[in-house]
Amino acid sequence: MKAVLAENLVKRYGDKRSHTEALKEVSFEVKQGELFGIIGPDGAGKTSLFRILTTLLLPDGGNATVDGYDVVKDFKSIRKRVGYMPGRFSLYQDLSVAENLEFFATIFETSIEENYELIKDIYSQIEPFKDRKAGKLSGGMKQKLALSCALIHRPSVLFLDEPTTGVDAVSRMEFWDMLQGLKKQGITILVSTPYMDEASLCDRVALIQTGNILSINSPENIISNFGRSLVAVRSNKMFDLLKDLKYFEGTEDVYAFGEYHHLVLKNSSSLAEVKEFLSARHFDSEATMVTPGIEDCFIALMKSS
């Protein structure tokens, strides 16, 4: 049995005449015990997808199951067995850390002691502050508390909607470490993120853009499917460089990428040709071959679709 199965999910917002399609026939499946990433920019439809799977929204088309239960018909069974952490911090700010955890344990008809093993690694980090009000915690600690609360009933599937958005780099890494730990406990995890660099931490990822899934694969395969040479180029005049590179005959695509420009080469072209082209106009430029990242794949997939 698949942990999550989505078939042609459609979600529209607005009235009949002018509506936006947040999800356009989205299909994917997640295996038991998998750490599955849904990666896409803001407005791609990640939250709508999560809300349909957690039974908070009704799909306008298609169907989906979680642990074999239908998200529309069997919503009560799903609500008992999944853990959900919304994108926004959604715990009681005026309740202390311990009170929040205890409250969530009771409403899921369990107790902190019963599942302490599962949350121990996470909760022990914030336990020294257990009498502090949740609203007074730092961003990273809030995430840890929210995760503890979402886990307190040992869910079979955990839905994390953008858990690392707005969290500092160190806490983000810690958070992903915790997810790896939970995976070992056999919990299926669906996590969405707008950060492309986090894709490599998932078992498989779905790249999503304006309601369409561009690709579903393991991060390694997505990168190896890129299939073209990628050159990082920089010079002192970055703006002119970008304009000039667009006229280079070997260019398939070129775009700004941090402090470099990323140049996707046509199969007919090579690094030597790029260097030769540049030497005429940009004496100080440097160009090196780089391995593509998920973001490069995302841009390529986005443009080809």
Partner: protein, 368 residues
Amino acid sequence: MKQFISFVKKEFYHIGRDRRTLFILLVMPIVQIIIFGFALTNEVKNSSIAVLDQANDVGTRSIIAELDASNYFTVQKNLNSYKEVESEFKKGKIKMVIVFPQNFATDIKHFNKAQIQFITDASDPNLANTMNSYASNIIMDYQNRINQDLKLPYRIKTEYRMLYNAQLKGAYSFVPGVMSMVLMLICTMMTAITIVKEKELGTMEVMLVSPVQPLKIVIAKAVPYLLLSTINITTILLLSVFVLDVPINGSIILLVSEAILFTLTSLALGLLISTVTDSQQTAMFISLTGMFLPTVMLSGFMFPIENMPLPLQIISNIVPAKWFYFIVKSVMIKGVGLASVWRETLILVAMTGFFLLLSIKKFKIRLA
């Protein structure tokens, strides 16, 4: 049950930790009772009057002394001419001028009748009316006293008794009014706001993805406000009995149970508002304009319903406070029992049931 208890506990934490709101909720009824009791009163008490006594004889002087001696009037000024009357009124302090003509005493003696003129500042018509009748009464008393030994052949004397509130105290009508206002405000507005707050903060989203029945979440919200309202009912009754001297003539148990019934009606109304709104602002706006204003305007507490145009009289029937106001007035002031207010009680029960059913039906088990 364990779930429910921990929900209620959480609600108490929320209320208890928001000290400022809690303070306002507990102090508001006290302040309202005091404001209505002592400041916002339209009773005539020590009103400043002036006298234009052109006769200045024994008769006029004793009438002036009587007026001054009463609790209702204080003679502030003796005027010397008609011209001064208007300018006194324009200064604003003097509310009434009493004019005695020349030859007041001789007129009485020779023609058996004399005239007194009341000039009243009618910019507040109710006050003017009340002052006129008080002054007439005082003068009538005086006249009866000097006529005691005389036997007139034919005389019709009207005698009136004001039942239940002989001194025409304002407190008798506003204590029930303030009670319905406070309960409406706390129960309806605060419940609506706290539920909608969970929607706004996103905690409702988490709560929905859990095994808890939504009904439990909502009912648990109402429990602390029910308790808070009981405290407020007690404060209002204590204040009205011991500070404002408004007696509780009927059964206190009946009165309190009716108040709790009205609290439930208001809570149900608050739940209903919360199910149809998504922001605290809207919830507050609906509670204030949609509930609070009709409570003040159409319950009969500020303005008598009998004097309203027919459409408004009909509309007033759907205002729960109207029925509660009637019940409290009947039980507290007239001292009647359940036998006289069972119809109104039944209406409130029906309203509560209706609001509850509607809000359960309208409660969203999903986000949209």
